[in-house]
Subunit: 623 residues, 2 copies
């Protein structure tokens, strides 16, 4: 590959200065290196292109490349540099070792960009560029999700409103209004509901009064509505709101709220879908709540599944960008790891595996620590994709290992305790219990595990050596040092091998058995269900959804539910507070504790630093 | 020009069938015809490109083309085909008469696309294609506006929250938090507030306690907040809501609401700005409400004007598309005519005028009837752009003229009364009072007026002749027949001439004098102000905003405030219910009656018909 080589400068410059110091290639240059021709992609400006889904079919005879997933040990609140390691590894493979490589990453949420500093593009000499385009708007996928999510939300409230003010007959008459020739017809989407209701008729006038009622009246129970509105802005005042207070809404007020857009089930659908037709089906079967009779009500029942698909038709194509060293990156989806599975999309990985071909590498990232990220990557994402990774990389830092070994608390925005910047091999060794459990759990899927230490300048050789010893003892295939942050791609490396994938649980186990299998992998001795959780499990089982995989909503800061239990806690009982479901995306998500789905802004948001140089058009202050 | 020629088919096919029957050119082909090279634009897929603002500077020595504005008579609720006429006229000029021509149009709001049928892309053989890309997402400008608008909204509530829980000192300490070297500094944007407060200091530690308080405490009076959140979805349940009901927001609840995104002041800013730096200033000086002391609080006071500009930096570039006959169209902005000025952007018109060059034509549309659309186009848009149209086209239909002549009410969704489909010359002649007043008002700006009759198949030659006679008698330069809807560009035509532009009022007149000048043009004998309106006029005058132009928020269905007063009513007193302001966009808007800023969905929204053919990827059911 004709890669750019970075000039490494001391003292260490800021991320945005590094990003701006490199003139990116036109994205068609990057595409050409992947043997893509202009029919295979749509340009979005000069540095972004959407790679079109039919590429998968066109290359279907080609052998896939190696598939590598990057996870991490249980992190500190500062993060351990998983994205940076992922990008750095790919720069090493592509620009230094001259391998075919594609990195697949999640699209960052725009909202937090204006809140607290710290983007998702990697950092230092391991970044996706142009950084401002990566962090803002990108190619509009999250905007499309916002639009689709909120169209469905509006359809729910409006439908309840119209049902409350109209007779069955009036409602039906409007739903099947006469066309220009005066004939009443069912639209295509209505046949989905008719089929669900077991009504095998094609002419509206043939329905009995009882069938008219069943067809036209969704009879949504407002108490059961789980569908919320979304916005890609950190807006804490929208977490809980009352809607419908306008005079024309006739007192139909309702308490609801907004989540950040990446928390939308539609984002999870985008990440887990395999094709346009699969996405159409998933969007249509998303459940928004129940009827008063207890039946699930879907987007297709509301008549809107097709429109949602139309809004999402371009979003299904992943976005091609580049690293600082000119290696290709596919950006796609960004399911909120708090309540979804936190990995980038299946279609991006599939396209990438074909593009790199045999002997090439696709490196993707799994959100949060391995207990959540890798577990969901294997049991949910790989289950739906049918893909099998050859290797998992676990990113560790001396800082986080010291914390797990008993070091003082690490808090964002506060100076680090001296324990973290002076040598303390014993503390590192004690913390390796956390690393060891992640290695053991990950190996259980049948993949090779490589530990990558994201090295900071204060880490000593003796500390690094302790990690390597512990990693190999725990069964890691290798443990390597990464200095990619300071020296581009040079420091990272990877090995690969092939074994069959073993899931943690079979899909046909009961919801509780599946939850308990995951809890045991955390070190729990048992699981405790709230009354609400019991009720929900019973309901989902009755509704026929018990065959879905499980997506645990748990803190990333501990194997357990208690964020302050560091290291490798065991013997605890995992509490399940509630159980929810994303039926369209295809998983049940038990809530272990409270999960925030809408971040807020601090007193001094970083938007104070962000401005445009209106002469040059460059963005200032983004990080 | 190497234009496509349309095959006209009988019987008349649907809009989407016509749109899908033509294979659009790659947009680079359209760009090349305008002498644009690939550095002048960014591609967004194959059929859309953003033309970059620096093109204006590059061509600044070139003479502008002719500038034509299309308005209409007072319409029926069915609309009189202004967009169709605009597109058809350009197809005639470009594809038939071989003139250089660019059409500049507003971007349609996505929300209504899923509500009631009837897009904004023109219709029949006069359309912008691809129709689905035109109506959905386009190049993300409205999404950018939504994001920017809501970031500002979140900043308001969050700031009030943080001010309520922190001392002056704590607040100041956080706003000027120490940097990595431990120094406290003001960020650039903070100097804007310091300057406004008359504090001429550069070091945070030099501020007195009183200055600290004035700087750090915006002390926003929640009762005065005019900034609302927005969403590009028809969601009536968001018209009036209560926010802040989450437990973490500590009881700081507040009543507010959502408007549809195109109603955001940021959309009006986009439409009225002349450059990046001008947009930066306008966004920063948008007023969101007052302090308790009665001073206006701006986006820059909140520290967010720069971030808003960054979110809008790509949106400032208009989007190039094409008509069915391959003539170029620049799509940009879509200010909500109900409360803003309802014309597409100044920058699109400026780029277009340079691109067509001398002897070329730029044809743009002004929303609503001429009483509102042309009036605002001249007194607001042309005032800010410095551009002068040579010609105004007034679109009329026999149907609307009959309504003005005393015909029975015309209601959307109900069959037309026979009066509208059988010859009745007397009714047409009587209705020409409406047309005549629009001609007189428009001629008063010093432009030539051409009346274009959008002919329907039931209109007779005698009816058309009556309109021509009345139009010429009222001072029109010409009156022509348009059959563009049925026969592409062939039917429309335009003449031009140059006279100096005369505004309806000088900017230095008082707010009331300006309102009254506009009211007289409607035929009003006087103006009546509510107590609230008087109070607001006094406040805006005191705050120094009385020099802005006026943007009347009035029904488009009558010259008067009473939508059922057809023809050319006179002698009425125009009531001003309230007066508001878009300070960043740069106008004061008096409210004549209640204006809806958030549409709803009907019982059977047209999303029932919309779906994706997942095999071909084509959109079905959009209109």
């Amino acid at each position: 590959m004709n890669a750019m080589r970075l000039q490494v400068i001391s003292p260490f410059p800021t991320d945005i200065d590094i990003a701006n110091s490199v003139q990116p290639h036109h994205i068609s240059v990057i595409a050409k290196k992947l043997n893509l021709n202009p029919n295979h992609y749509d340009l979005y400006g000069k540095y972004k292109a959407k790679v079109l889904l039919p590429v998968i079919d066109e290359l279907k005879e080609r052998k896939d490349g190696f598939y590598v997933v990057v996870g991490g040990i249980t992190p500190t609140p500062l993060g351990e540099g998983k994205s940076t390691t992922t990008v750095g590894l790919c720069q090493a493979l592509g620009a230094v070792l001259d391998k075919k490589v594609v990195t697949t990453l999640r699209q960052p949420s725009q909202g937090p960009t204006f809140g607290i500093k710290g983007g998702a593009a990697g950092g230092g000499y391991s970044q996706v560029i142009p950084m401002d385009e990566f962090n803002l708007h990108l190619t509009g996928d999250i905007h499309a999700i916002t639009a689709a999510n909120n169209l469905l939300a509006s359809a729910i409230d409006t439908r309840m409103f119209h049902e409350s003010t109209q007779s069955d007959k009036a409602l039906f008459s409007r739903l099947c209004a006469p066309d220009k020739k005066g004939n009443r017809i069912f639209s295509d989407i209505m046949y989905r509901r008719l089929k669900k209701l077991g009504i095998n008729k094609t002419k509206p006038e043939d329905l009995t009064a009882e069938e008219v009622m069943r067809f036209a009246r969704l009879d949504i129970d407002p108490e059961t509505i789980t569908w919320r509105r979304v916005m890609d802005v950190n807006d804490r005042f929208l977490r809980k709101i009352t809607v419908g207070q306008g005079p024309d809404e006739k007192g139909m007020v309702r308490e609801t709220g907004f989540d950040i857009s990446v928390a939308s089930e539609i984002m999870a659908v985008l990440a887990l879908t395999n094709s346009l037709s699969d996405m159409r089906e998933r969007l249509g079967k998303m459940v928004i709540g129940n009827s008063r009779a207890g039946d699930p009500v879907t987007a297709d029942d509301l008549g809107v599944g097709g429109a949602l698909t139309v809004l999402m038709k371009d979003a299904i194509n992943p976005t091609l960008m580049q690293t600082l060293e000119g290696t290709p990156v596919l950006i796609h989806a960004g399911p909120f790891a708090n309540i979804a599975h936190g990995s980038s999309s299946i279609v991006a990985d599939k396209i990438a595996l074909k593009l790199v071909g045999p002997d090439g590498f696709v490196v993707t990232e799994a959100g949060f620590g391995c207990d959540i990220g890798i577990e969901k990557f294997m049991n949910i994402k790989c289950r739906y994709s049918g893909l099998r990774p050859q290797c998992a990389i676990i990113v560790a830092t001396i800082r986080a290992l010291k914390m797990h070994g008993g070091g003082p608390p690490v808090t964002a925005g506060k100076p680090l305790d001296p324990a973290y910047i002076t040598e303390n091999v014993a503390l590192v060794e004690a913390g390796c219990t956390n690393l060891a459990r992640h290695i053991k759990n990950t190996k259980a899927y049948g993949v090779n595990v490589v530990v990558a230490v994201n090295r900071f300048s204060t880490d000593t050789d003796a500390e690094i050596a302790a990690v390597r010893t512990a990693a190999l003892a725990a069964g890691a295939y290798d443990a390597v040092l990464c200095t990619h942050h300071a020296h581009g791609g040079k420091g990272a490396a990877c090995e690969s091998a092939t074994k069959p994938l073993k899931f943690l649980y079979p899909l046909d186990a009961s919801i509780k058995d599946k939850i308990e299998a995951i809890a045991r992998s955390y070190g729990a001795s048992g699981v405790e269900y709230s009354e609400q959780a019991e009720k929900q499990i019973e309901m989902y089982t009755k509704q026929g959804f018990s065959g879905l995989p499980i997506c645990m909503a748990k803190t990333q800061y501990s194997f357990s539910d208690n964020a302050s239990a560091k290291g490798a806690p065991s013997g605890f009982v995992l509490p399940i507070r509630d159980v929810r479901a994303s039926i369209g995306a295809g998983f049940i998500y038990p809530l272990v504790g409270t999960m925030s789905t809408m971040p807020g802004l601090p007193t001094r948001p970083c938007f104070y630093d962000i401005d445009l140089d209106t002469t040059t058009g460059t963005v200032k202050g983004l990080s």
